[in-house]
């Protein structure tokens, strides 16, 4: 039963998963560059991390190597920590500037 299941799953070539991750990653990059809302920028970062996770998991599955999925696990951990710190900074920025527009922060450029 398991064997037929994994044979059925092999119908999808690895290329499709890689292509999907590339598309999702580029959407995330466009989101970071285009939107001015800090929350949406954080969401785009999450989307990019997800695209990388998907690519690592698909390579791991197609190479029969569980190490890739362990790395996906670590990336998820780092993403969770990043979101916690990032949202805390967002709350602090909102308290100080009463706005979550990125352009309100252009004075930290230099």
């Amino acid at each position: 039963m398991d064997n037929t299941l994994s044979q059925q799953l092999q119908v999808i070539p690895l290329e499709n998963y890689v292509m999907l991750s590339i598309i999702l990653f580029c959407i995330g990059v466009i989101g970071i560059l285009m939107r001015r809302n800090l929350i949406v920028v954080f969401l785009s970062i999450e989307l990019m991390l997800n695209a990388i996770n998907l690519m690592a998991a698909s390579f791991s599955a197609y190479h029969n190597d569980p190490a890739g999925q362990a790395f996906v696990f670590f990336i998820m951990v780092v993403a969770a920590a990043e979101v916690a710190v990032g949202l805390a900074m967002l709350v602090m920025i909102y308290r100080n500037t009463k706005s979550i527009d990125i352009n309100a922060l252009n004075r930290v450029k230099w």
Binding site: N3, L5, S6, Q8, Q10, I12, E15, N16, V18, L20, I22, I23, C26, I27, V29, I30, G31, L33, R35, R36, N37, I39, V40, F42, L43, E46, L47, N50, N53, L54, A57, S60, A61, Y62, H63, N64, D65, P66, A67, Q69, A70, F73, F74, M76, V77, V78, A79, A80, A81, A84, V85, L87, A88, M89, L90, V91, M92, S99, I100, D101
Partner: protein, 167 residues
């Protein structure tokens, strides 16, 4: 059947992430990204990585997105705010993203991907295998992640601590 699932899930993921991008209200952006995460979890199941799918839903849908929604509601940010926007910047972002896509696509096009003879062994994504890998080969990184979480927690508390007023 498998192909229908794959293309449906990937179309859902791409469409919801695009909707996330072009949504005015950040609340809807978060909810659309949630849809995207669920379809990515479905793709993990199609890769025979059940543990990853469950952890993905728990961590992203259960923790991260709830944190986003909590901050949005807490600060009442879902009201329409005025954002500086310029069409020039938007065009530049599109061009940059499109250029990155072309670069990655050409690299992908010229690469020959190697696939093992019998991919998606039913044991690779199981909790047993991943647990053995995680606690044998990657034990020290696993312990370091706990320190990372601890430092993130301390950092969050310190960042959001109100300034003490003396006297």
């Amino acid at each position: 059947m498998t192909q229908v699932f794959f293309y449906g899930l990937s179309a859902l993921a791409i469409a919801s992430s695009l909707m996330m991008l072009f949504q005015r209200n950040p609340m809807y952006s978060v909810l659309y990204l949630l849809v995207c995460f669920f379809s990515v979890a479905g793709l993990y199941i199609m890769l025979n990585a059940q543990f990853l799918a469950v952890v993905h839903i728990i961590v992203y849908a259960g923790a991260i997105m709830v944190l986003f929604l909590y901050v949005l509601m807490f600060l009442n940010l879902n009201v329409q705010q005025h954002f500086s926007k310029s069409n020039m910047l938007r065009l530049a972002a599109m061009l940059t993203g499109g250029g990155l896509f072309l670069l990655l696509f050409s690299a992908f096009y010229q690469t020959e991907l190697v696939v093992m003879p019998d991919p998606m062994n039913e044991n690779v994504g199981s909790v047993q295998t991943l647990g053995k890998v995680l606690f044998n080969d990657y034990l020290i990184p696993f312990e370091l992640t706990s320190i990372l979480f601890l430092s993130a927690m301390v950092g969050v508390v310190i960042i959001n601590k109100k300034e003490q007023t003396n006297g």
